[in-house]
């Protein structure tokens, strides 16, 4: 199975200059656990801010959520894989880097995201279909 078959195309993007509070609001409103941080200019690259970053790097250290910018706690660059990559390779990357999601790209464009939950769901559906054709 290829990663683009199961990726989530719902990508929420936030500016690196937005506050962490803005990021929290966006995650709660959209019921998601990560936001793609857009590059500041053409020389910059995408970043990612996750619930884990917010809990460990901001809430855990009592940072002011309104004054601290997303850029200060985000991870950069993001781990990306090509859309035609096998799912197995994506899982290996997640294990290797101890991350729960990887972005899916086509050239420079980010198309979607795969989380551990997507991998688990795909594996369970494949298992349920075993012996019953495609």
């Amino acid at each position: 199975m290829k990663v683009d078959e199961i990726m989530t195309k719902k990508l929420e993007i936030i500016s690196a200059d937005a506050s962490i509070y803005d990021a929290i609001e966006r995650m709660i409103d959209k019921r998601i656990r990560s936001l793609l941080v857009k590059p500041r200019d053409e020389h910059d690259v995408n970043g990612v801010i996750t619930v884990r970053d917010i809990v460990h790097k901001a809430l855990g250290k009592n940072l002011d959520l309104n004054k601290t910018k997303v850029a200060e706690i985000m991870s950069k660059p993001v781990v990306c894989i090509d859309k035609g990559t096998d799912l197995e390779h994506a899982v290996n990357l997640m294990t290797k880097f101890n991350i729960t999601r990887v972005f899916v790209n086509e050239g420079k464009e980010i198309l979607g995201i795969i989380s551990l939950l997507d991998v688990m769901s795909a594996a369970l559906i494949t298992r349920a279909r075993e012996g019953h054709g495609a």
């Binding site: 719902k10 019921r31 369970l124 559906i125 298992r127 349920a128 279909r129 019953h132």
Partner: protein
């Protein structure tokens, strides 16, 4: 045990008809998706045709059951299962009917999400057929119903996003807004009904033990 419960000729006739009923639902959902992909409302007429065909198969199944197929304690649950599958036909037909009124007014961004939901609905119909087959084999029904719940959760998430998009959309008149809202409601409700049907399969499975 399975042979005792399902072994007779009339029972086999009912089982074959239920499979046929679900195959028709699969075809209707495939036809619906194609109509949506091609933005072709004429294509949607096949949904109503297949729904009528499904109705006739449902009547045949219920009649055969009340002529004496299956042990009495199983009949109610099997009939309820068939009624729920029939409800899926009705909701699909309602969605197709709203689409006929909407036609090209469905904008590109919303249409892409709708096609994705229609595709998941079709996969759920397929999984329901697989789950039904599992009742008569040694397969694990629990993992098939879990797959159906995973699909339903996906549709649920997409519904949430779609509604957010719809709220930002400018609506020109009451009927355009109502038709679009009803179309999305019906489209996203199909997965709930299929999930209910799979829950009933679980009840049938338990009642056979």
């Amino acid at each position: 045990m399975l042979k005792t419960v399902f072994g007779g000729n009339t029972e086999q006739k009912v089982i074959d008809s239920i499979k046929k009923h679900m195959q028709i639902l699969y075809s209707a959902s495939e036809c619906f998706k194609k109509g949506l992909q091609e933005l072709n409302k004429d294509q949607m007429y096949c949904v109503a045709d297949l729904e009528r065909e499904g109705d006739s198969v449902r009547r045949e199944i219920i009649s055969t059951i009340y002529e004496g197929a299956f042990l009495p304690f199983l009949r109610t649950n099997i009939c309820r299962f068939i009624e729920i599958v029939d409800e899926a036909f009705d909701v699909l037909k309602d969605a197709a009917s709203e689409f006929e009124n909407l036609g090209p007014k469905l904008d590109q961004e919303i249409r892409e999400d709708c096609i994705q939901i229609a595709d998941i609905n079709q996969q759920m119909c397929d999984m329901l057929i697989i789950a039904f087959d599992t009742l008569f084999s040694k397969g694990d029904l629990r993992e098939k119903t879990l797959a159906i719940r995973i699909y339903e959760k996906k549709v649920d998430d997409m519904k949430f996003d779609l509604i957010s998009k719809l709220r930002k959309k400018e609506v020109k008149d009451f009927w355009e807004g109502k038709t679009l809202s009803d179309f999305i409601s019906y489209l996203t409700h199909i997965s709930d009904v299929i999930e209910d049907a799979s829950d009933y399969l679980h009840i049938i499975n338990l009642s056979m033990r």
